[in-house]
Symmetry: C2
DNA sequence: CGGCCCATGTAAATCGTTACATGATTTA
DNA sequence: TAAATCATGTAACGATTTACATGGGCCG
């Protein structure tokens, strides 16, 4: 059982989903391709942590809708209590910035602006997710408690927004350094 | 040539270093174990991008001090101009927070405090690095330009500090949610 | 004396990406 | 008509971690 497997169980604890949907929803916190997810779902099913129903579709390909079993829930709760790994980030841009003095100022500025636009787009998409969560939630977001089904979404989007704002602050600060 | 290889060249563009030192210095931006780095250095040497001198030591094991060659510098500069991959983060804590409602409030609070302490320690160590850079720099940091050798260190530590402050802001905000 | 730091390397296992494979429907 | 979306899966490759291997000096 690796971390991604538990991540899939985490998503399934809220909603039954297909492998395809799980792939999309897990991206922001644990990037993974479908080729990694499908075999793990098969393993999880063999362990009895998830089960699925075939859902034939006429217009689109048939799908398998997975849900968490009682055993899966137990495994998930035990995992939450275990020690948690430190987050890991790999940022090619940071490596380039470290030796940015090797290229000329115009190229450096161009790179920074590109990265800033990347973060701006991210921020927009996070704010859109935020709005979506706001609509789906019964209560106003500020009143959500730990037990509410949208609580996880709410706090993680808040985390993502704070992070991307820090990145944008850094980009703007860097731009002033390259003037 | 993978990203880590270029990362090693990036570090070597500032200083000659051993594989062991490279391993430690690249951690904040591209975590890697020595078992990954030593073979890559051998490859880089075969390609003529780096060269090394044996340095026998009496008290400690002998070492190989690597430096960047002219060809290595050229490869490095070309890489900087190429499109840059988006940063990738994998955060087990985020997955757990998503379904934090599955454990009781006290355990959730304990997890949050642990993570906050982790970030606090990180912040302290970043601020220490900051002081070290300040001492090593000839000019005051605010006056450093792109070409100065400490510029890369300076701006990346600033990036790390902004990030960890955003994380701490989130932790404090989360704590208020669990009251 | 046990464990950490220095310092380099290889081998095995796991994790993750890219490519191969299929195929209907929708959109530009 | 080319590309994207939905939907699942396998195979090959590359990246990363863990474990194996060695050995002196230093600290508590």
């Amino acid at each position: 059982m690796n971390t991604l497997s538990y991540g899939l169980l985490s998503l399934l604890s809220k909603d039954s989903r297909t492998g395809y949907e799980l792939m999309h929803h897990i991206q922001p916190f644990w990037p993974a391709k479908h080729s990694q997810i499908y075999p793990l779902l098969a393993q999880l099913e063999q362990k009895g942590y998830v089960e699925f129903v075939h859902v034939p579709q006429s217009d689109k390909p048939d799908k398998k809708v997975y849900s968490l079993t009682a055993n899966g829930l137990k495994a998930l709760q035990e995992w939450i209590g275990q020690p948690t790994d430190a987050p890991v980030t790999r940022d090619e841009f940071a490596l380039k910035v470290y030796c940015i003095g090797l290229v000329d100022k115009d190229e450096a500025k161009k790179m920074l602006l590109e990265r800033e636009n990347y973060y701006l787009e991210k921020k927009v998409s996070y704010l859109e997710s935020f709005e979506r969560v706001k609509c789906l939630s019964e209560k106003p977001l500020e009143e959500l408690g730990m037990q509410d089904p949208m609580f996880g979404n709410y706090v993680l989007i808040r985390k993502a927004v704070l992070k991307v704002e820090a990145d944008l602050t850094w980009c703007k600060w860097m731009k002033s350094k390259l003037k």
